[in-house]
Amino acid sequence: MPLFPTLPIDITGNRMPSAAEHPVRTLLSRRGLLAGAGAGGVAALLAACGSSGPGAHPGSAGAAGATGGRRGGLITLGAPTPPTALDPVTMYDGTAIALVQLVAEYLIWLDQDFQLHPALATGWTSSEGGRTWSFTLRKGVVFSDGTPLDAPTVKASFDRLLDPANKSAALSAFASVLAAGGVAVSGADTVVFHLQRPFSDFPYLVSAGNYNALVLKADYKLGMFAQRPIGTGPFLLDSYDVGKGASFSRNPKYRDTRTPYLDGVKVVFHKDAQADLLALQSGAIDAQILSQADLVVPIAGSGSIAVDKVSGTGLSAFTLRVDRPPFTKKEVRQAIAYALDRPGVLTSVYNGVGVAGNDHLFAPAFAAAPKDLPQRAKDAAKVRSLLSAAGVGNLRFTLSFDPPSKAYALVIQDQLKRVGITVDLDQQTSEAFYGGNQETDTPWLFTDANLVGWAGRPTPGQFIIPMVKSHGAWNGSKYANPVLDAAADAYDAATDPAERRKQAAIIARALHEDVPVIITAWSGAVRAYRSDRVRGLRAHPSAFLDLTTVSRV
């Protein structure tokens, strides 16, 4: 008999806390810190994306994706039963997000490589040093009921998200960047965003990376999407039953006449991941929307089951309190970092899906990630010398965590034991771990050493600002470094890619040297499907679903 209610599935396919969860944990596991994120941006990249030609659809990586594929036919997908309502404004679970993405669209699509692709917006420019952003809308787009898309409609969609009364998860993403009243129209096809501060990564906030930022009709009624599913997306929602599943058919008014290839999609809900997997193995479904790596990686290649893998930006932060012994000494923190076998962590904890971390917060997927920082690796001799230099003979500490981090905690305990470091494990319930007062005693921010899972973010600033900047809202290590703070601010404001790389290098070096948090791996994502039935289906770091270029074999 379970002690606690079964938790829903988040967008990465992991179990999520309940809706009545702690606000910080909500943000950590759902979307996080899109707000307060570092500004600055990959301006050149954005400009390049903005100039992409017309006709590109949100999900595909350009026209190339639309040139192949058999037209017609249906596919059947499996997914966990969505724990939240099918409402684009408030949804936060992976199933609901994927289903809505078939029907409605964003201004910009975020692909599996963290690249931005024009969708309803064909281009965007910034002015006033990144404080004002203008988005040009694609012409000729109509909603499935025939209503044309225009700038006032887009403005209404964002005004809806920015209205606190609507309780959209997107609100936190815009915090300190875009306030209510900051959206304006300029003509019929240009939307202008006036930001509270320069933020050169702003296009990410109106992309799929901020997954509630879908463009809906101006008269959309909150919570009525399942009843009136009107969007500009490639499919129409024909039926939806939270106890069974959903069915979709091709949208004849879709803006790209070449896609989607499929005539329709059927989605079957399963109570748990095992049932979903069984359905895939038995052939009852053709693919999964949310796959769990630990379940599907072992069966990849058996029969016709294929598993697509993609790198991501999710991480599990091994946080050390720099203001509490024994971690006040940098050498102790470095010794622990050098004691960890990162490939072993990747294999045991992430099933080989992901990439090794280097104790800083720039995932290889981020454009500004430093390339010249040596990869930290296990070095037992260095561990001994660092501990000796710190004057620590027998290092022993307690590691606190909640159940989702249990495997990682066991791996850490085993690996540190091999170099003579004793780790006592303190497993707490998620409620206890994320409970308490964020200012004084919540375990995930106030224990000496802990593990906290962070869902993937499209920009590094969304990790840096809260996690390691001085007095960051979720700075569990209590790390404070003026050099890093200044670099983080400069990174936020920089529009020149070279300047962003320069500031990123400063931040990464500081974290790599001071080790307030140990990042051993960046998790990836998987998606399992039957290769004899489905072609073109890809995994996505955030489990987003793009079926425009998917076809039957």
Partner: protein, 308 residues
């Protein structure tokens, strides 16, 4: 010899006869054996009893000597050996961390056989005392105790145990106390029922007439004659305690993270059941074999006691 003494001698149970006549203990045991009592000679002829004892003794030996018997360190991880199926190198395969499942099954016997017998011993001691007092004393004490026992009986003990362990925190002491607490009412009820029967027997009346103190009456006269019930309760309680301990561990409320305890192992590996059945099957079989073994012993003891 007075008439009272004559009556008393005539109605004494075998144990009392032997004691009264000053015969050696051997004579008493022979008398009990003839009477179909719990003497080992009758039980060892039963194959199911022997199988049960072999299973129990086998696991006790493994629990004590696993550091010398296990082929590998049950805690040592090896990522390159993850989820290997049973083979010559790893008879029971390996788990998600590359740990040897056979070694973990062997090591997992120790936490199980630390918690369950301790909890059972506590429950039997407390339950026997309460049952005897209630059965012999009756009155208000009996009423109060039995209503409490009734309350425990109608409340799902596992749910209550889960809540208590979750609140009190995970430790071996907590596990032992919780399992003992929720096992005590059943022992109390059974021993009380046996004591009620004994209470009406002439030898108890005779002891009272002799002026034997109450606690002496319980300890010297009644307890030996309900020992069969106590033994049966102890064995069946042990099986229940093992199951309860494993269940709590399965729910994450038993042993510390990473423990090879069987219930915890089943829980940790259940997501791999379809792909890597060996990670779940062998710990589950271990729990099952131990519980079955103890159940066989308990059944035989119960049957033997019924013949008395």
């Amino acid at each position: 010899m007075t008439s009272a003494e004559v009556d008393s001698a005539a109605t004494r149970p075998p144990r009392e006869e032997a004691a009264a006549s000053g015969a050696p203990h051997r004579a008493r045991d022979q008398a009990r054996a003839r009477d179909g009592s719990l003497a080992p000679r009758g039980l060892v002829r039963r194959p199911s009893f022997v199988v049960g004892v072999c299973l129990l003794v086998g696991w006790v030996v493994v629990a004590v000597f696993w550091p010398w018997l296990a082929p590998a360190d049950p805690m040592a991880q090896n990522p390159s050996l993850r989820l290997l199926g049973p083979s010559g190198g790893h008879l029971f395969g390996t788990d998600q961390f590359g740990r040897d499942v056979l070694s973990r099954v062997m090591a997992g016997a120790r936490p199980v056989l630390e918690v369950a017998p301790l909890a059972t011993a506590l429950a039997v001691a407390a339950g026997s005392l309460l049952g005897l007092v209630c059965g012999m004393r009756r009155g208000l004490v009996d009423e109060i105790v039995m209503r409490v026992v009734d309350m425990f009986a109608v409340f799902p003990s596992l749910v209550a145990a889960v809540v208590v362990v979750a609140l009190a925190g995970r430790s071996t002491t907590t596990l032992v106390l919780v399992i003992a607490t929720f096992s005590t009412p059943m022992v109390t009820r059974s021993v009380r029922a046996a004591a009620l029967v004994e209470r009406e027997k002439p030898y108890v009346e005779a002891a009272r007439l002799r002026g034997e103190p109450f606690w002496s009456l319980l300890w010297r006269e009644v307890l030996p004659n309900v020992s069969g019930t106590v033994l049966v309760e102890a064995t069946s309680g042990l099986g229940n305690a093992i199951f309860a301990a494993s269940t709590l561990s399965f729910l994450g409320l038993g042993q510390a993270p990473g423990s090879p305890e069987w219930g915890a192992s089943v829980a940790d590996n259940r997501v791999f059941l379809q792909q890597c059945w060996w990670t779940v099957l062998f710990p589950a079989l271990a729990v099952g074999s131990l519980v079955v073994g103890i159940a066989l012993i308990a059944d035989n003891l119960r049957e033997q006691a019924t013949r008395r």
